[in-house]
């Protein structure tokens, strides 16, 4: 298991340009390598390009293999957005993913900090107990969660969709690792200055692990944004659907109208792609940092 310092080093290294030693100009192998990698990369995004291209085509044209639509149209988008369901699902997903992310990041950081910086009996037991929940697959819990939601009247509510994710063992572990890099002297100095333990956590320790918090936030947000099986189980009314569940329902409805299905798929994809293109470096860094937790 790599430690936190290693993770930071590698995450930083990703941002730096590749060392000069590789830049042998006119090396035919290097040129071939670049061409093949570029071709592979273009091939990787072709499916997405075709999705967007088809969403701009008229029904009679979707059989055409050309990427550029002959007569581009936004009619599909107008049709799909007309009844307002996509806005609703988008908003639901946004609210649920945001609230869950904020909650999980704060609680995971608090628990990670407590398990890292406090000395008390039972600390290891709590840590191992939380860590052991990583082994339990969500699929094993969905049935009991469903029963719980049913008993408490949480079916078909935002809270019902969110409650399983408001804290994560993964984030707790990640944050505990990162708080190791915060020197105890800083916390001790704050203690002498008369800050209470909550203030020390919030005002002294938290600002020092901001990159880790951002990385965890990206990871948790992505997970919640694309979550499918639990929202599918816990929601019944279309007003409560998240974007993935809504898209499934919508696509099943359209059955053979692939240009409309592609429009729906594009609507679900484009916002994340835009966000990715703007914050590319930041997101890749975050995913590496969070991904290499252990």
């Amino acid at each position: 298991m790599a430690n936190t310092a290693d993770i930071k080093v590698t995450a930083d290294a990703l941002d730096k340009a590749t060392p000069k030693r590789h830049a042998r100009k006119q090396d035919p192998i290097a040129i071939l390598r670049w061409i093949l990698l570029m071709a592979g990369g273009i091939l990787m995004v072709m499916p997405i390009v075709y999705m967007i291209s088809t969403s701009l085509k008229w029904p009679h044209e979707i059989y055409n293999l050309s990427i550029i639509p002959e007569e581009p149209t936004l009619d599909n988008y107008a049709y799909v957005l007309e009844d307002g369901r996509f806005y609703m699902w988008f908003l639901n997903s946004l609210i649920i993913a945001t609230v869950t992310t904020v909650s999980a990041v704060l609680f995971d950081a608090l628990v990670g900090y407590t398990l890292c910086k406090f000395q008390f009996r039972g600390r290891m037991i709590v840590f191992v107990a939380i860590l052991s929940t990583l082994m339990i697959p969500t699929e094993m819990l969905v049935i009991p969660w469903y029963l719980m939601a049913k008993n408490f009247g949480w079916l078909d509510t935002y809270w019902g969709i969110m409650f399983p994710g408001i804290m994560t063992a993964f984030g707790t572990f990640l944050m505990k690792q990162f708080f190791e890099s915060v020197p105890d002297d800083f916390l001790e100095a704050a203690r002498i200055d008369g800050l209470n333990e909550f203030q020390i956590w919030w005002r002294v320790a938290m600002p020092m692990v901001k990159p880790a918090l951002a990385a965890l936030a990206i990871f948790i947000f992505l997970g919640n944004w694309t979550a499918f099986i639990w929202p599918l189980i816990v929601t019944n009314s279309p007003e409560l659907y998240t974007l993935p569940v809504g898209l499934t329902t919508f696509s099943v409805e359209q059955s053979v109208q692939w240009e409309l299905i592609m429009t729906g798929a594009a609507l679900a994809t484009i916002p994340t792609l835009i966000v990715f293109l703007i914050f590319q470096r930041f997101i890749i860094r975050g995913v590496v940092m969070a991904g290499l937790k252990g």
């Binding site: 999705m51 707790t172 692939w258």
Partner: protein, 297 residues
Amino acid sequence: MGWYANLTIKQKQVVWAWTFLSLPILFYCVIRFYPTLNAITLSFQDWNLLGDRTWNGLDNYGKLFADPVFWKVFKNTFVYLLLGTPVSLVFSFIVAYHLDKVRFMHGTIRALYFLPFMTSTVAMAWLWRWFYQPVPIGLFNNALASVGIPQFPFLSSTTWALPSILAPAVWAGLGFQIIIFMAGLRAIPQTYYEAARIDGVGPWTILWRITLPLLKPTIVFLVVLSSIGFLRIFDQVFNMTSNNPGGPLNSTKPLVLMIYETAFDSFDMGYAAAQTVVLFIILLAVSLAQLYIMRDK
């Protein structure tokens, strides 16, 4: 707060620690541990959600192991794993290995490979489902037809449906594995390579004797992570076979889809719980086996 003022600094810290942990401990008990025990208990009971929960011993497990559909599903689940993990790891390693040596437009190429990881699984499942449609709708078959190759039965064939569903799952995951591999490659100290080059060691030997052994922690991490992912495959299958879930003829049905159908279509909660316990055991066994095989010798 008189009692608090009288505590030593150590004691105050203990009070704070348990205060911070109180809500989380409640959460992990109620939302993680209790449901786990509940699922295990339920797997020894018979319950259709409306009537009474009655104990039926090992009946659910007996029924499961006697069910030919379960064995079919069991096999499918492992085919997803055994095809998906090696294919995606080999591809992502090759790309990462070469991309690591490229400077010109490095960030752009990396972004191209990473882009599919940022998409919604459900949207991509429907996109690929369109690709796989027969002539004159599907992109792949149209492309084949345009060069005179007969149609390929992608999703309608019991042989090819599973790999067809697996393809977008592998595709979407590549970007993540590539950047993790690249981070691993960057963490290998340059001095090893320099020493090897001075000794006149060829690139293949460097790859097999230096790069791959030193990359082992990264490889173990990705193998375990992607195995767990493929063993739990659901979203793609559910969306790409929604007219006949897990079809044709259960040839693509993974364990999680069987669990979903048993619990939320048939409402056979005890039987579904038994299936989840089996899934849990499989995941645990596969993770432990891999960690054992790949352990440091």
